[in-house]
């Protein structure tokens, strides 16, 4: 009896350890693969050239150039834009859902938010081309609406379900005792919401935003379709931009194996990998700090 239970306990312990080991090993494997291939690229191109603002033009006939500066800027621009749009809307929506909306409205809106997450990225890209693009072109008087702003709007939309649902959990985790204390001092609902509930969940909301956006950075298809894909250095949100993800996705299928171009794409992927890893790590740290303070 006891020995059997012992066996199963050991069994589950061991299998948990194995699966943890497998996921870490996979992560490490991916990193090594990227790093080794990137190494070739850095050897041939040089770090200075790779991280420069020189054009990304690896397929040029005479002198190919490999600067990812413009691509990084493109990624930064679309991501920042997406954050600026998704953060206030997502947090506002979460507050509305959990603190203000009557039950029936909440029950109506929640499934819609969840449905947003189910839209495939190709469809979002399509929406960007046929709806958002013409709209932006019209409103701002541009020749076409395929630019950084378009990408930002679409990414924001894709980040929203994550931002909203995590923020909502954060808001609902605020102890009822804080709200009661506020009401008991003669505060009204609005004062309680803005001066007690909101400040009590700052770091959780930060984590929600970072996780939402961290997910959005990797959304290749959408950005690829909606941002116009010019490899020039972007001048602003109305510039057509190309992100790192889009570059890898577009070029990887056509590049001959073993060329400098081929290895340069691995280097791009490595940079992307490090960026998302950093963001997720930072979000985890914020969330951990929050949990510690909650105790």
């Amino acid at each position: 009896m006891t020995s059997r239970r012992y066996f199963w306990n050991r069994f589950f312990e061991k299998s948990l350890a194995v699966s943890a080991f497998v996921s870490i090993a996979t992560l490490l494997g991916i990193f090594l693969l990227l790093a080794i291939h990137s190494w070739r690229a850095f050897e041939r191109i040089g770090l200075g050239e790779f991280f420069s603002l020189n054009a990304w033009n690896p397929a040029a006939y005479d002198t190919p150039s490999y600067g990812i500066g413009a691509l990084l800027l493109g990624t930064a621009l679309t991501t920042l834009g997406a954050t600026a749009i998704a953060a206030p809307i997502g947090v506002g929506m979460a507050f509305f859902l959990s603190e203000i909306a009557p039950l029936w409205l909440r029950n109506l809106l929640k499934p819609i938010v969840e449905l947003m997450a189910a839209v495939p990225s190709v469809v979002m890209g399509f929406v960007g081309i046929v709806l958002v693009g013409p709209f932006l072109a019209r409103v701002f008087g541009l020749p076409n609406g395929l630019n950084a702003l378009n990408g930002s709007i679409l990414l924001a939309f894709m980040a929203l379900p994550t931002v909203i649902s995590i923020s909502e959990d954060v808001v609902q985790a605020v102890p009822r005792a804080y709200k009661e204390a506020s009401y008991a001092l003669g505060a009204n609902r609005w004062e309680t919401l803005t001066r007690v509930t909101l400040p009590a969940c700052y770091s959780g909301l930060l984590a929600a935003i970072m996780l939402g956006v961290g997910r959005a950075i990797g959304e290749t298809m959408t950005v690829l379709m909606a941002t116009g894909n010019a490899t020039a250095i972007p001048q602003g949100f109305f510039s057509s931009v190309r992100t790192i993800t889009a570059t890898v996705a577009i070029e990887m299928g056509e590049v001959p194996t073993g060329t400098t171009h081929y290895y340069a794409l691995f280097a791009c992927a490595l940079v992307l990998f490090l960026i998302t890893l950093t963001i997720n790590f930072a979000a985890e740290r914020v969330a951990a700090r929050l949990r510690k303070r909650g105790q």
Partner: protein, 252 residues
């Protein structure tokens, strides 16, 4: 004849299907300390929270009867609970400081109540921390998070926060249950001083405390008010056998 600041008339409270308060009637005179005693679960907290409409936040709770505050029915739909709570403050059974600095915990209520001038705010914060006998322990570190205080210090902070906004009535739910005897004595002293300014309703499990500070004592049992009267009389010649048994520990 003494003036009755609060008049509770035939108050019934239902939590879901449970009949928690069963027809409570009592008059609360101005500038006195009223102690609510009774075994755990008899409804003291529920009664206290009815007075400042804290039950509004809980849709499962239904209240019948009247609570008149200066002649106006608190429970009336047209009574603004926000205005009411500015006049009737509360310290909860579990200390619940905001996750803010010590200073901001007290400042919050002042700002909500319209105090703008920072010098005035600082004075008011200092005063109320002195009144709740916390000042000497925290005056060097007002910017420290209130969550880093001990339980007893947190409770005194909540008391400071409640008296800072100068209500007319203060409802205290076992404010001393987490305090050591010395802080308890200090808080009791404070309450006796504050009686000049406020009317105080205090729930306590400490019978000696009721005896030391309360002018009136109410004994509740299973949702009913068994006996209510001047403290001395209550302790020396209780009218009900139930009260006598409770006060002498012959219970259960």
């Amino acid at each position: 004849m003494e003036k009755h600041l609060l008049q509770i008339e035939d108050l019934h409270l239902y939590a879901g299907s449970k009949h928690v308060l069963k027809g409570i009637s009592m008059n609360i005179p101005e500038h006195q300390i009223i102690a609510l005693i009774g075994p755990s679960g008899c409804g003291k907290t529920m009664l206290l929270r009815s007075i400042n409409r804290m039950h509004d936040l809980n849709p499962d709770i239904r209240i019948e009867g009247r609570i008149l505050f200066k002649g106006k029915n608190v429970l009336d739909r047209h009574t603004d609970p926000v205005q009411l709570r500015r006049q009737i403050g509360m310290v909860f059974q579990k200390p619940n400081p905001f996750p803010k600095s010590i200073f901001k915990n007290v400042e919050y209520g002042l700002k909500i109540n319209g105090m703008r001038h920072s010098a005035h705010i600082r004075d008011a914060v200092e005063n109320s921390l002195k009144q709740s006998h916390l000042w000497d322990e925290v005056k060097e570190e007002l910017d420290k998070s209130a969550l880093e205080l001990s339980g007893g210090q947190q409770q005194r902070l909540c008391l400071a926060r409640a008296i800072a906004v100068a209500p007319e009535v203060i409802l205290l739910d076992e404010p001393c249950s987490a305090l050591d005897p010395i802080s308890t004595a200090k808080v009791e002293e404070t309450l006796l001083e504050l009686k000049q300014l406020f009317t105080i309703v205090i729930v306590t499990h400490n019978l000696q405390q009721a005896r030391r500070i309360a002018d009136q004592t109410a004994f509740m049992y299973l949702g009913e008010l068994v006996e209510y009267g001047p403290t001395v009389q209550m302790f020396e010649q209780p009218q009900q056998e139930l009260t006598y048994n409770y006060l002498h520990g012959h219970f259960g």
